[in-house]
Amino acid sequence: MKKRVFLLLFLLLWLFVSGMAFAQSGGTDPNNPHGLTPEQQALAKEIQMELWCPICQGVRLDVCEQKVCQQMRDMIDEMLLEGKSKQEIIDAFVVQYGVVILGEPPKQGFHLMAWIMPAALVLAGLGFALWMSRKWTQRAQTPLPESPTSEAPSPGPMTDGVEDEYLARVEEELEEF
């Protein structure tokens, strides 16, 4: 009996506390203060995940706890309720807050350089490596010129064809310089 009364009291207290909390929040769901539909909520989350906190370092809008982020999330909800599309909302944010909220440079104008340059540099590096490797391969395959030293071989282990080959290459390198 005592247990039941205790349980009833606990239930009443829980109802009272949660009722107070609900009233304090203005009768709205704290996770959905603007009363968005599930589709709008999903779209709001999608937009939040594409935008970044403008005053933090590498913090996405959906997980940012700054006041400015809360205001931005409210603005997204309000614009969705006005019937704006995802792109319209993102464009409006870029105009009002600047490109910093995209977390990446926009793919237009001078900012395009940031996208092109790394790829261009990698391609240029690959091209250079390819060019160099072909040059080295060609040189290795080119028949070696007759070396004057090969006509008068000196005695000892250094007089074989291997030495001639290296000497010829050294001469060729010296010529190039």
Binding site: P54, Q66, K67, V68, Q70, Q71, D74, M75, V95, Q96
Partner: protein, 221 residues
């Protein structure tokens, strides 16, 4: 020796490539040293103040159904502790939707304040600025630029403190970036020739410091 021979096209190609690599290397070095000597975080602290063009906020108050939730959101349910008694009082229409361009304001010393409605320390500074504006009006023009802000929040803020000097949204953070501001609030003191005389990082803590800065601005040649 072979040094007398004319250079082959292959060798010329090699030299061209080396020259290109050297030029790219030199350009990268120049950019690197320019970056070191001119770090992007270095704020505009002297010389000619960067120009900006803004349109001031409307002076008519927001409708109560927008104003009250915005005040609640910015200041909490005890917003009366921060705000003037009549938060719905229209602000002076003198600066209603006016286009302000700094370069066209030569001849007037200017106090330029960067602020935001989401900024906590701005709450302490705002009453000081408004009070100083009422004392220095006619000698110094105060301009407030709200950074990363939204119309309803900024206007609710201005209603709350009954701000009567011109305020505008710094659209896209253009002025903020031009001055290389590092956070709000930040205040610049610009003489009548358009030169930065001084600046204050963070909220100006009290009226006497603000007075000193304003006197220095007025005494600037």
């Amino acid at each position: 020796m072979s040094s007398q021979q004319p250079s082959s096209p292959k060798r010329r190609g090699g030299f061209t490539l080396l020259a290109l690599i050297a030029i790219v290397g030199i350009i990268l070095l120049v950019v690197f040293y320019y970056g070191i000597l001119h770090p992007p975080s270095q704020r505009a602290s002297s010389g000619q103040a960067p120009d900006f063009i803004v349109t001031t906020y409307p002076s008519d108050p927001l409708p109560p159904e927008t104003l009250m939730p915005a005040l609640n959101d910015l200041f909490g349910s005890h917003y009366q502790a921060y705000c003037v008694d009549d938060v719905q009082k229209p602000r002076p229409s003198e600066y209603d939707r006016v286009t302000l361009q700094l370069s066209k304001l030569r001849g007037t010393p200017i106090l330029l304040n960067f602020w935001a409605s989401w900024c906590t320390t701005c709450k302490d500074e705002q009453p000081l600025l408004e009070s100083a504006w009422r004392r220095y009006k006619g000698q110094v023009l105060f301009i407030g630029l709200s950074h990363l802000d939204q119309d309803k929040n900024a206007r609710a803020w201005l209603q709350c403190y009954d701000v009567t000097y011109p305020n505008a949204l710094d659209l896209g953070g253009k002025a903020y970036n031009a001055y290389r501001v590092q956070g709000v609030p930040e205040t610049y003191f610009i003489d009548k020739e358009g030169n930065i005389v001084d600046y204050y990082v963070g909220a100006i803590p009290n009226g006497s410091i603000l007075d000193q800065l304003l006197q220095k601005l007025l005494q600037a040649p």
